[in-house]
Symmetry: C2
Subunit: 116 residues, 2 copies
């Protein structure tokens, strides 16, 4: 298991360090928004390799890092896989209703324009 | 009055052209978020010069343009003043609850951290 001292443990902002502007920026990219939508509807953590994103591996890694560093997702190593989950508790506590309204808006936009 | 043929009429996306990602990006900057918060609580349009922003004139103009081109605000010339208002009807129709949850989140963040 990963411990706090492990170099494989990834840096995350504490709940108190999460900022609205950073969250909105993280969600303002279509690829990142798609990742968050899939994570939000998944019943468990999803590995990075689960996602079939239309970007290179390094760009994908960048997008996951932006999501993690803004506090939108939590990433942990499980064996060789990097697993991802939305920090719903933290986001709902800090910004009530925001994540749900963004997810609803993204679903509506996908229905209107076929994106996502 | 400005007409459609006037060169002083500023370009705006139609409601159908407004995209969630663009709106979230526009709101992800602290200066722009502050402008939107003030416009949302104002009872009428506010001129650009009303805002005492901690940025240069050209940066301020850029921020207002990002807000306009993303569909968050409507800008119209009235004489020599550029007047601004939030496109609440369009945003609420496209993305129900989103603007309010962002405004609530911004107020909460300002209360916690003194920003805005």
């Amino acid at each position: 298991m990963t411990t706090a001292a492990s170099p494989r443990e990834l840096a995350h902002p504490t709940r108190d360090e999460i900022r609205l502007e950073g969250v909105l920026h993280a969600l303002s990219d279509p690829v990142r928004l798609r990742v968050v939508r899939e994570l939000a509807t998944a019943e468990s953590e999803l590995s990075c390799s689960y996602f079939d994103l239309p970007v290179t591996k390094s760009t994908s890694t960048h997008h996951f890092r932006v999501l993690r560093e803004s506090g939108v997702i939590r990433q942990v190593y499980r064996g060789t896989a990097k697993m991802n989950g939305v920090r719903r508790d933290d986001l709902d506590e800090l910004f009530p209703g925001l994540l749900d309204s963004v997810l609803t808006a993204a679903a509506g936009e996908a229905a209107r324009h076929g994106a996502g």
